[in-house]
């Protein structure tokens, strides 16, 4: 395997700043992105990135197209994320997603000794078990995971609850409490802050598939095997437990998002972001 090594670029050096900026742009109190574009205030409605692929039982082409048209900004957002991931890796998830960013930034405020380490649980089978039910349940008329367990609804309302009664009302019901608990347990107090992204985000699941499918064509995190001494420091810092160790480190492109923590942690310079050929 040859790798075109890349210097730690802007996205790597300023990741925290980009995540904070994303929170400021997408979440209350300003929700600037929504206000300047469609006049919305959150991810619900026009910007919904989840509902258009949760198709109801009996829905015809007209309903499916109608759902896509109603959430056209959300569809555009997911489309852009998936296409960019194909070529560049999951930068949407690692840097730009305000929901994942909120969890990770929140987890940095929690002492390490209080954090839960989910890395012993394989993420991919849970993620795609969730994704399968997410798509199949409404199609089969069994029910839906879409709005009831929506991270894109819960996190913005968590930020808005201090200001707006409607956002606060979201948490006065079972689903609000469950979503809050999921966000706290799988993000804020999770080691790395990304267990929610890794297990339960359908946008992340689509993005991960794109990452895997585009592995041969685009830039990804790669291990230079002859440099790796197997120290395992990369495993300790990976928020999505995407790295395993045989003789050398192996990166699972289905779970990896290029946060580049492993690159910074590697004492041998054996991990870098670049093209795999």
């Amino acid at each position: 395997m040859t790798i075109e090594s890349a210097q730690a670029g802007f996205m790597s050096r300023h990741r925290t700043m980009i995540m904070v900026l994303s929170l400021a742009l997408f979440l209350p109190p300003l929700a600037f992105i929504f206000q300047i574009s469609t006049g919305g205030i959150d991810f619900c409605g026009t910007w919904c990135p989840r509902m258009f692929y949760a198709i109801r039982n009996g829905a015809g082409i007209k309903e499916v197209v109608g759902g896509i048209m109603r959430a056209y900004m959300g569809v555009t957002l997911v489309g852009a994320a998936v296409v960019s991931t194909f070529f560049l890796g999951r930068y949407w998830c690692s840097h730009l997603c305000p929901i994942g960013g909120a969890g990770e930034l929140g987890s940095r405020l929690v002492p390490d000794k209080l954090k839960i380490d989910y890395s012993s649980i394989p993420a991919a089978p849970i993620r795609y078990g969730y994704m399968g039910v997410y798509v199949a349940a409404p199609l089969l008329g069994l029910g839906s995971l879409c709005c009831n367990y929506c991270n894109f609804a819960a996190v913005p309302r968590l930020f808005g609850a201090a200001f707006v009664q409607a956002d606060l009302a979201y948490f006065f019901r079972a689903y609000g409490v469950i979503n809050l608990a999921l966000f706290i347990l799988l993000a804020v107090v999770a080691k790395g802050g990304r267990a929610y992204c890794n297990f339960l985000c359908p946008v992340g699941a689509l993005d991960a598939l794109s990452s895997l499918l585009g592995m041969k064509f685009g830039n990804r995190m790669n291990v230079v095997e002859h440099r790796c001494n197997g120290c395992g420091k990369c495993i300790d810092v990976c928020p999505t437990w995407a790295i395993s160790m045989d003789a050398t480190a192996k990166i699972d492109q289905l779970s990896c998002m290029p946060c580049r923590q492993c690159e910074k942690a590697c004492p041998e310079g054996a991990i870098c972001y670049g093209k795999t050929t």
Partner: protein, 215 residues
């Protein structure tokens, strides 16, 4: 795929299927259209009858040519107490217009506006007699309690009802349930004419479960 992965996948599918199928009925989301003469909700809001408090999320688009101010009430049996909270920007940077909401009234609704209303509902101290339309107690001040219609859609769809109270009853009677019981509903009325704009019926079920109503 190794055995452990397969087992985790199967367990995940089973668990999330249960999560998708089971529904907590302390809250519901109803979508509708605010329409001159009376818009309709896509489906009734289904809530568990054994609870004391609920949250109902009502989202609605304004269908042209309606524009005006719309009062929101929770009406019907049993007696329920409601507080209404409009979903609005924390800091409105003023690029797009939003209808304002105060005193349980939307001001300056215009065609194609979308509103999202959070209704916190509590059961009242007593259950009043059935088959009598009663407007619920409102925590916030409203302009009158009994919605009065000067023009309402009759059973045949024509705008014929003249008597205001009769018109309101007729309209409500038509929209609520198949057995003609005038159950509770979140209703929108035009402030100027008292004409109905939207009625979202609330149905109380025996228990939680069943996940096939909305997303």
């Amino acid at each position: 795929m190794n055995g452990k992965t397969l087992i985790i996948f199967i367990v995940s599918v089973a668990f999330f299927t249960l999560a998708a199928t089971y529904r907590f009925h302390d809250s519901a989301h109803a979508m509708g259209m605010i329409k001159q003469g009376g818009g309709v909700a896509r489906h009734p809001a289904l809530l568990d009858k054994d609870r004391d408090s609920y949250v109902l999320i009502a989202t609605a688009a304004v269908v042209p040519p309606y524009h005006g101010n719309a009062r929101v009430v929770l009406e019907g049996d049993p007696t329920l107490t409601a507080t209404f909270h409009n979903s609005e920007p924390v800091v409105d940077i003023g690029i797009h217009r939003h209808p304002t909401f105060r005193d349980n009234t939307y001001f300056d609704l215009r065609p194609r506006d979308r509103v999202a209303l959070w209704v916190k509902i509590k059961r009242g101290p007593v259950t009043v007699r059935q088959h009598t339309p009663v407007v619920a107690q409102q925590k916030q001040a409203v302009r009158g309690t009994e919605p009065v219609c000067t023009q309402c859609e009759s059973e045949g769809g024509n705008m014929t009802a003249k008597s205001s109270a009769d018109a309101g009853s007729k309209w409500r009677g038509k929209k609520v349930g198949s057995q003609g019981v005038k159950g509770p509903a979140v209703a929108f009325y035009d402030v100027a004419t008292n004409g109905p704009l939207l009625r979202i019926p609330i149905q109380f079920a025996d228990g939680a479960g069943g996940g096939d109503d909305d997303h």
